[in-house]
């Protein structure tokens, strides 16, 4: 049993263990859960962007068929608001404005979709029927739908606790040093842009089932979450006042998250609390329309960047001013996205010696904004990589050479940036060269000419990007305002006959952890992955964990498992030494076999686990029985994946439609455990990046109504919008975690948007186009071409 086929270990494209159940319809998602006696919740939401609630009349609705109970903000007044997990401080050191985020609206609604009341009924349709019979007396208030409107003098005020609708005014870097650098500049290049607001749209809508056991007083919440322990902590401690020991949170199979399922949402608290009140399980499932107006949105920055360069094209300094939209309330991790996940990335892969960035976070009457695939890092990368192209054009330098000239040299690692981060490893020249080669950059002009002959405009664009993921260490993030630690937990349970159960605090919602994490065990302990079970997503089973986001699962969670395996091996050696009558120092371990060094005396892992659980011949005075170890791993640093993305597009000048022709990604994600899965992660991330660049945009009208409120108007990338994505990796190892891994979940979404827009701008250069805002829709491009023709 302990003989492992080598192809299952690190580096093998093992087919996924979880696929069989997903492919046969046996996935187990939250909406698939039905508890005995279950009732259904429907949430009545605000149709107004901003309104005072004068009265809520529920009597008629109470009398409707099947209605069990109706609750409003008044019923929930005793419970806490939804907490924010990160506190940013203003330039002057004062804390950010942190207005209460009520679970159900209290006196006022602040965005379309703000929950106002909940109806619990026997069926979902009955609950919805009854909700329509609730009469809410609103007095509509002027709404601020954009940051510009929110900051304007005399603007409607959303929160008493946030004067001027300002959440915070934050900065990083040394402005005096920057000003000095700018004074010496040969040229200062200015670039302004909007990073478009996106709706994450994981295919599984959010859902939650609350359950309460009156005998024990135990609550259980089944929810579509990327981090059940975080939800237990936030909801138990801050909202419902339920101790961890009485609250179990289960996140079963989750159909995609991309960040949107990190946060603690009102509906989770509502069904849990309501289950306790009606003494029945209560289930809520969003329909897509609700998702659009209740899932945290992503991005939404307005920025101005200025780049100072010397006469040789060397960057002297970078100054950035950004407005970041928070939406109506602070979602769980919203404040850290445009600050520590954004401004700290502005050095990118370049030796920019000084950077100063200031960020104003603004409340508006829109859905809260929080991390979405990449979170802050795509915004920084887009700004920087567009700026690099704009600057190269302005100083008359080739865009590739301009980048190369400013790259951090290969021998400069560890490299300290001027914005707090210290990069441990990387080789940006290698990923650049590999990508140029793979994309046939040199042959592009011939392809452009061939396209031109067919009446099409072809363009090619590049981005050389960096990200920081596996956010850590706890002490540092704590000093920056995080209200949680960012370590991870792994338990390795070797059973008596040698099979292994892994308990991990990370959560898989598409990433394939059941396979990749099993590969780590196969590689180290020599147990076939068929005999390794990965358990995640249940606070009753897994000791603790911070979940999955920010590409942290392997770098942090995998490292915790690695440390736990260290302990298993150390204990196993002591048991093996006893059984083989050797000294512990002489026992070696390799993939499932303990050996007395230099002899043919061996014991398998199964021999050891059996001895550990049946301790007949066992050093019981010195070692406890059993073979199970837990490790909490707190990383020493972020990890820094990076690479080069190249997009090639073709534009139909008559319609303005951009077609993706080719996309090349060469990424350094550190050590690759499963190349097949890494490729899939990159391809998926790139699709979301292309979506942002060409298709997707959440559009509000001036009154705060979400115009793109369904898939009829919000353009989701479909198969025929995309082209093949070629993926390659070039590895430099992370130097500070035991696996050498960096992370691959977000690189696609981070590197691709500027590559695509750079390609579109390149295609349109004959029209004198210097920039086009995302998404580069056909109508927008036609306007540019049309305007260009008129001007010509």
């Amino acid at each position: 049993m302990n003989v492992v086929a080598p192809f299952e270990g690190i580096g093998a494209s093992v087919r996924r263990k979880e696929d069989l159940r997903f492919l046969s319809g046996r996935g187990h998602y939250t909406d698939d859960i039905n508890r005995p006696g279950q009732a259904h919740a429907y949430i009545l939401r605000s149709p107004h962007a901003h309104a005072a609630i004068n009265a809520i009349e529920t009597a008629a609705a109470q009398a409707m068929p099947g209605v069990v109970a109706i609750f409003t903000g008044a019923d929930l007044a005793a419970i806490g608001g939804l907490p924010c997990g990160w506190q940013i401080h203003n330039k002057d050191g004062s804390p950010m404005a942190e207005p209460k985020h009520p679970v159900l609206a209290e006196g006022k609604v602040r965005h379309v979709g703000d929950p106002v009341a909940v109806v619990i009924a026997e069926t979902r349709q009955q609950a919805r029927d009854a909700a329509e019979a609730i009469a809410v007396d609103y007095t509509p208030l002027p709404a601020v739908a954009t940051m510009q409107a929110a900051l304007a003098p005399g603007a409607a005020q959303m929160h008493e606790a946030a004067p001027g609708n300002l959440c915070y005014d934050w900065h990083i870097g040394d402005k005096a040093v920057l000003d000095a650098a700018f004074a010496k500049a040969h040229k200062v290049v200015t670039f302004e842009t909007t990073n478009n607001r996106l709706v994450p749209n994981a295919m599984e809508p959010r859902a939650a089932v609350g359950d309460f056991d009156p005998q024990s007083g135990d609550y259980t919440l089944y929810t579509t979450s990327q981090n059940p322990h975080v939800i237990r902590l936030l909801m138990g401690a801050f909202v419902l006042n339920i101790p961890e020991s009485k609250l179990r949170v289960v996140a079963p199979d989750v159909g995609g998250g991309f960040g949107s399922k990190i946060y603690h949402y009102a509906e989770e608290a509502i069904v849990t609390w309501a289950a306790g009140r009606v003494k029945r399980p209560v289930k809520w499932t969003a329909d897509r329309t609700e998702s659009f107006m209740s899932d945290a949105h992503g991005r939404d920055h307005v920025s101005k960047a200025e780049l100072a360069v010397d006469k040789d094209g060397k960057i002297l300094g970078l100054k950035v001013h950004t407005y970041a939209n928070m939406g109506a309330y602070l979602s769980t991790f919203a404040p850290c996205v445009p600050t520590y996940l954004y401004a700290t990335l502005l050095a990118g892969v370049y030796t920019t010696p000084v950077i100063y960035a200031e960020v104003k976070a603004v409340f508006t009457n829109t859905v809260p904004v929080d991390a979405y695939r990449g979170a802050g890092r795509p915004e920084a990368t887009y700004l920087l990589e567009r700026l690099m192209d704009v600057a190269a054009a302005e100083i008359g330098m080739d865009r590739v050479e301009f980048r190369r000239k400013n790259f951090i040299p290969v021998d400069a690692f560890p490299y300290q940036t001027p914005v707090a981060l210290q990069y441990d490893s990387g080789n940006y020249f290698a990923t650049l060269d590999a990508a140029l080669e793979a994309a046939d950059w040199k042959g592009f002009e011939a392809r452009r000419a061939a396209a031109k002959a067919k009446g099409k405009l072809r363009g090619i664009g590049i981005s050389t990007y960096l990200e920081a993921c596996g956010i850590a260490p706890s002490a540092v993030v704590g000093s920056l305002g995080a209200r949680a630690g960012l370590y991870e937990v792994g338990t390795i349970r070797v059973h008596p006959t040698g099979s292994v159960t892994v308990l991990t605090g990370t959560h898989s919602h598409g990433q394939g952890h059941e396979t990749t994490l099993a590969q780590l065990v196969a590689d180290r302990l020599g147990v076939p992955i068929a005999n390794v079970d990965i358990v995640h997503g249940d606070t009753a089973k897994v000791p603790f964990g911070m979940g999955t986001y920010g590409s942290r699962s392997l770098a942090v969670g995998g490292s915790a498992m690695f440390k736990a395996m260290d302990k298993i091996i150390a204990k196993g050696k002591r048991i093996a030494a006893h059984l083989m009558e050797a000294s512990v120092e002489d026992v070696e371990f390799d993939r499932g076999t303990f050996r007395v060094a230099g002899t043919d005396k061996t014991k398998t892992l199964t021999d050891i686990s059996l001895a550990a659980y049946v301790p007949h011949n066992y050093p019981i005075e010195e070692i406890e029985p059993g073979l199970e170890e837990t490790a909490f791993y707190d990383p020493k640093n972020f990890t820094y994946p990076g690479g080069c993305h190249i997009a090639e597009v073709e534009i139909d000048t008559e319609t303005g439609k951009v077609s993706m022709v080719n996309f090349t990604a060469v990424d350094d994600v550190g050590r690759v455990i499963n190349p097949m899965i890494v490729e899939g992660q990159v391809q998926g991330g790139v699709a979301q990046g292309i979506g942002q660049a060409l298709l997707e945009s959440a559009v509000y009208d001036a009154d705060g109504q979400l115009i793109s409120g369904s898939m009829m108007d919000y353009t989701m990338p479909r198969a025929d919008d995309l082209a093949p994505v070629s993926v390659a990796t070039h590895t430099t190892l992370c130097t500070h975690n035991p696996l050498g891994v960096k992370g691959c979940g977000e690189v696609g979404a981070i590197g691709s948007p500027p590559a695509v827009i750079n390609a579109v701008v390149d295609a349109l250069k004959e029209y004198g186009v210097k920039h086009i805002e995302m998404p580069a829709t056909p109508a927008k491009i036609w306007n540019i071409i049309n305007g260009g023709r008129k001007a010509a």
Partner: protein
């Protein structure tokens, strides 16, 4: 959706009777437009009358120089019918581009015609082809039948039973899809047939499908892509939204007309 009574009559007369008696009853065949509206509670019918059991509404046949398509004919059947492919290949091709595979497997020509959604494909084709809509009461020319956005000549209880289309000499279609919904943002069907040269436009018009008379004149004089490419449409007649302004749609109509003529050969 709100609940309603469900009826599945087996004769046209029975269906017409139920619909005539109850102004809040709605007919359903494929349900590709009605059901999405009901799901969003945009519509609250008292009863839904399922026409799919009425066998006289089925079938495609060629009758001399006319193609007769039963109202219950699904888009997939239009796209793959040997008779239609031989007589009006542009119509078959158009049907193959409606919605997605699943819409084509359920949605019917009669339903699309009776609904007259401004971004539906068929109305423009029927206008261009000079089709006649046969109902449970009478025959109506396409020109008289389509009366603007979601509006038709149908009276209460009147049901579309078949579409009669004179076989054209030439016909072609081209459209630009809305990037999000994939409905037509601007589609143009051109035909040269017994009724002359006609051009139908969907998706773009502020008041639903319409005929582009300037383009008809230009094409009548010179049947070539360039002849229509130069005809500028009046943006004032067009619809604008987050996916494109009225000016953009006006421009797209010219481009699609050019491509439709090229497709027609």
């Amino acid at each position: 959706m709100y609940d309603f009574a469900y009826h599945k009559p087996s004769s046209l007369a029975d269906a017409a009777k139920i619909l005539a008696a109850d102004p809040d009853a709605r007919a359903i065949s494929g349900g590709m437009t009605l059901l999405p509206a009901l799901k969003l509670r945009l519509n609250k019918p008292t009863a839904v009358v399922d026409l799919s059991g009425i066998s006289e509404l089925r079938g495609v046949k060629r009758d001399g120089n006319t193609i007769v398509i039963g109202a219950l004919t699904k888009h997939y059947e239009v796209a793959t019918s040997a008779d239609i492919k031989a007589a009006i290949p542009a119509l078959a091709w158009m049907a193959s581009t409606i919605g997605d595979t699943q819409v084509r497997n359920r949605g019917t020509m009669g339903g699309s015609v009776a609904n007259n959604d401004p971004s539906a494909d068929y109305p423009a084709a029927l206008l261009a082809l000079g089709a006649t809509i046969q109902t449970s009461k009478r025959k109506i020319s396409a020109d008289d039948f389509f009366q603007g956005m979601f509006a038709t000549a149908l009276e209460a209880g009147e049901i579309v039973t078949a579409i009669h289309i004179p076989v054209p000499e030439k016909a072609g279609y081209a459209k630009m899809k809305n990037p999000a919904s994939r409905y037509s943002m601007a589609g143009v069907f051109v035909a040269k047939g017994p009724a002359g040269v006609r051009v139908g436009v969907n998706g773009a018009g502020a008041n639903g499908a319409f005929r582009a008379s300037e383009m008809e004149k230009a094409l009548g004089a010179n049947w070539s892509p360039d002849a229509v490419a130069g005809v500028k449409m009046d943006a004032g007649m067009m619809n604008g939204d987050i996916h494109g302004s009225a000016e953009y749609r006006a421009h797209l109509v010219s481009v699609m007309a050019k491509r439709a003529v090229a497709n027609a050969g």
